[in-house]
Symmetry: C2
Subunit: 407 residues, 2 copies
C-alpha cells in the first residue's frame, strides 16, 4: 500500500506553488513559479534518498539505483509538473508525486528491485508557454534536437534555453542518457469517460493524434466609423469566421474529431480601429491519423479561400504534429491484472490529451493508467479527483511497478 | 495666409512624439507619451503669447484675449492630440496645430479681433484607453460629470484621474468655464469621399450616431483534447460567431450602418484550453438614430440568443452612446464662402468619425472643415494628406475664424 496521506499532502503542497495575485495556479514551464515547484519536488526526491539529476532540456530525474541491479536498464516513471494558466493541481503533478510515493513504498517495504527505477518530471509538457507540448519527453526520445527545443520562443517572447538557465534547471546530461526498460505513467483522465461509467481505473491503450497551428491573417487597419463595410480588409472578421467554422469542420470530419481555438490576438486591438492583424491557434485532434490529415487539409483549404475572398494575407505555422500512438499490450495487461487483484473495475480506453508516455513510447514499451476526473473537467481550477480514487490509482501503479522491476 | 512651412514642421515634430520601440505612434491619452506631446504643444502656445490653462479633465487651452475684447464670448477652436495605438500624425493634431497657426497668422497681420480666441486640445478624444471617446469635450459640454470621467478605468487597469495627476495635467479650472460664442474644428476626413470626388474641402454639416459596447461571454475552461465538442461551453466560439455576424447585421440595417469588433480578449488564452471567457467590443454607427437603435436591439437579441443556445452567461456594457448631430447652418455657409473665395471646390458631407465638435455642439453653434485622406485610410500609420491640402484647409480655417471674430 502507498502512504495515501503523504501523497495527498504533497499534491496539496505542490498545488499551492505558483499561485498568482488572483490565486490562480499558473506554473508555466521555466518560469519562477516552475522553479519553485521544481525546487520543492527536487527536495522531496533527495529526502527520499534518490539521486537527483537534470538534463539539458531541464527534465528533472530522481533515480533509485540499488547496488545489486545498477547495471540493468531502468524502469521509467514520469509525468510533468508544469501547468497551463489557471489550471488544476492534479494534471501531471499526480503522476510525478505518485511515482515518488511508489518508490518510497517499495523502499519502506524492503523491496529489492531487479532494476533501477528512474522517476522523471518532464519539461514543458503543457505547451502553454512553448510549442510543441510534451517537449521534454519528445527531446528525451530523440524526436526533437535539444538545441532546437532550447531555442523555442514563447508566446511571451522569452527563449526556453535562457529561461531554464535563469531558473537554474539547464542541466548537463544529454537527454536520452538512459534508455528505459519500460515506461509507465499515471494521470488523471481529464475527460468524462470513467466518471460516466462509474469506473475507478482506465487502462490507456492508445492516444489520439494532435495537430497544432498558428494562423495569422493580415489586412489593413482603418477607422471603424469612416470605413464602409465593403472597403474593409478586416483581419479580425476573418479570424472570427474561421474560428466559428471549426465546429462544422469537426462535425464534418466525424464524432471523434475535436477542434479548438484557444488563443487569439488582435492588432492594434483598439475599439474604433478595424483590426490590421488577427493571430489565433487551432488545436485539432483525432484518434485516426488519416482522418486527422483530412481535417488538416480541409482547414488549410478553408483558410486559403477565406483569405483570398477577404483580400488578406495568410500565414499558417505548424506548431506541433503528433501521430496517434498505440501503447504496449503487455503493460496494458499488467495494469488490468493489478486493478483486478485490487477489486477495482476498469476499462480499456484512449486518451484525448497528449502525454509524455506518447513520446517515450518511441524508445520503450509504454502505457498509462487513468483515474476519473469529476465532470470531465481539466485545464480548469475546478479539476478534481476524489482522494480515495487518487490513492486507488497509486496502489495500482505500485503493483504494476513492483511487477515490472521484479524481473 | 497661414505659414504653411511652420504648420507642416510642427505636425512633423509632434508626430515624432510618442513613438514606441517599434517606431509606432502610440500617444494614448494621459500616458507619458501624451505628456510629452502636451508639453511640446503647451510650449508652442506659450511661445505664441497665448495664456496656457488646463482644466480638471486635462483639456489644454491657449487663450488669445486682447485687452479690447476681453469681456466678449470667445470663439473656440479645438481638436485633440491623443492618438490610437499605431495611429497617424494628422488625426486631431492637425486641428490643434492649424488652430495655433490661424491665431499666430492673425496676430502677425496685426488683426484686432472683436472677441477672444480660445484654442483647445481636448483630453482622450480617441477613447482608445478610456471610454467613452470625445471625453474631454463631453465633460466640457456638461454631458458627463468630471468626477465620473476622472474615475474611468482603462483597458490597462489605470484610472484616468490618477494618470492625469501623474503626468501633471490635472488642472484646477472647472470644465465649461467659458461658454463659447461658436466652435470650429478642422480635421482630416479619415474616409474616402473627398479623395474619390477630387475635392479639397469638406463642409461637415452632420455627424453620425455612435454606439459602443463591451460584450463578455463566460463559459467553462476545459481540455481541448479530452472534451467532446458537444460538451463544451466555449466562450471563444460564441465570440467568433457574434463577430462574424456583425457584417450581416450591418448589411441588414442598411448601406450606411457600420459595425466593428476592434478588441478581443480570451481567457485563459492557452492553445489547448477551451476558452472560459471571451470579451470583445462592438462599435456600431449610423447617421440615422432610429436605424442605429434598431441595429443595437438586433445585436442585443442576437447575443442573448447565442448565449442561451451555447449555455454561456452574457454581460453587455454600454461604453458610449452618442446621437447623430446636425451642425450649425450659418457656420457651414461661412465655410462654403471661404472655400469659394479661395477657389477651392467643396461639398457638404457627414462625418463617419466622432469629433469633439459633436460634443461642443451641445453648448455652442459648431461646424467642421475636412480635408482629404489618401485612400480613406486613418487610425493607421499610412494615414496621409498632401501638404498643399493641409495648407489649403488651414487657410479656409483662417478665413472662417477671421470672419467669426470680426463681429
Ligand atoms: N495532459 C495534458 O493536459 N497535456 C497537455 C498536452 C495536450 O494534450 O495538449
Ligand atoms: N476622429 C476620430 O478618429 N475620433 C475617434 C472617435 C471615433 O470616431 O471613434
Amino acid at each position: 500500500q502507498v502512504d495515501g496521506e503523504r501523497l495527498l499532502g504533497r499534491l496539496k503542497a505542490l498545488g499551492e506553488v505558483g499561485r498568482d495575485a488572483e490565486g490562480r495556479l499558473v506554473r508555466l514551464a521555466a518560469t519562477d513559479a516552475d522553479k519553485a515547484g521544481r525546487d520543492l519536488t527536487a527536495a522531496w526526491l533527495a529526502e527520499a534518498g534518490l539521486e537527483v539529476m537534470v538534463d539539458r532540456i531541464g527534465n528533472l530525474f530522481g533515480l533509485w539505483r540499488p547496488s545489486g541491479c545498477a547495471e540493468q536498464a531502468a524502469l521509467m516513471l514520469g509525468s510533468h509538473i508544469d501547468t497551463v494558466r489557471d489550471g488544476g493541481i492534479y494534471d501531471g503533478a499526480y503522476g510525478v508525486l505518485a511515482g515518488l510515493e511508489v518508490i518510497q513504498s517499495l523502499m519502506a517495504a524492503g523491496f529489492a528491485p531487479a532494476r533501477p527505477i528512474m522517476l522523471v518530471a518532464f519539461t514543458n509538457e503543457e505547451g502553454a508557454r512553448y510549442a510543441p507540448d510534451m517537449m521534454g519527453s519528445l527531446v528525451y526520445a530523440g524526436g526533437l534536437a535539444v538545441d532546437e527545443a532550447l531555442a523555442a520562443r514563447g508566446e511571451d517572447g522569452t527563449v526556453l534555453g535562457a529561461e531554464l538557465a535563469r531558473i537554474g534547471y539547464a542541466g548537463a546530461l544529454e537527454p536520452g542518457f538512459v534508455r528505459p526498460h519500460a515506461y509507465v505513467e499515471l494521470h488523471i483522465e481529464q475527460g468524462p469517460v470513467l466518471e460516466r461509467e462509474g469506473l475507478p481505473i482506465g487502462v490507456v491503450e492508445s492516444l489520439q493524434g494532435i495537430s497544432w497551428r498558428r494562423v495569422t491573417f493580415t489586412g489593413r487597419a482603418n477607422h471603424a466609423g469612416t470605413t464602409p463595410m465593403a472597403m474593409r480588409r478586416d483581419a479580425g472578421h476573418a479570424a472570427a469566421v474561421a474560428i466559428a467554422h471549426l465546429r462544422e469542420l469537426a462535425a464534418a470530419s466525424g464524432p471523434a474529431t475535436v477542434a479548438t481555438a484557444g488563443t487569439l490576438r488582435l492588432e492594434p486591438n483598439v475599439i474604433n480601429v478595424v483590426p490590421r492583424l488577427a493571430s489565433f491557434t487551432v488545436d485539432l485532434r483525432d484518434p485516426d491519423d488519416a482522418r486527422l490529415a483530412a481535417a488538416e487539409a480541409a482547414l488549410e483549404a478553408f483558410l486559403a479561400d477565406l483569405a483570398e475572398r477577404e483580400g488578406l494575407s495568410l500565414t499558417v505555422e505548424v506548431l506541433a504534429r503528433f501521430e496517434p500512438v498505440v501503447f504496449d499490450e503487455a503493460i496494458c495487461q499488467r495494469i488490468e491484472r493489478a486493478a483486478e487483484a485490487r477489486g477495482l473495475a476498469f476499462r480499456r480506453m484512449t486518451s484525448g490529451a497528449g502525454h509524455d508516455a506518447q513520446m517515450i513510447a518511441r524508445i520503450s514499451p509504454a502505457a498509462m493508467i487513468f483515474v476519473p476526473s469529476q465532470g470531465g473537467i481539466s485545464h480548469n481550477p475546478r479539476e478534481h479527483t476524489e482522494p480515495e480514487q487518487l490513492v486507488a490509482g497509486a496502489n495500482v501503479f505500485l503493483d504494476v511497478v513492483a511487477g515490472l522491476v521484479s524481473e
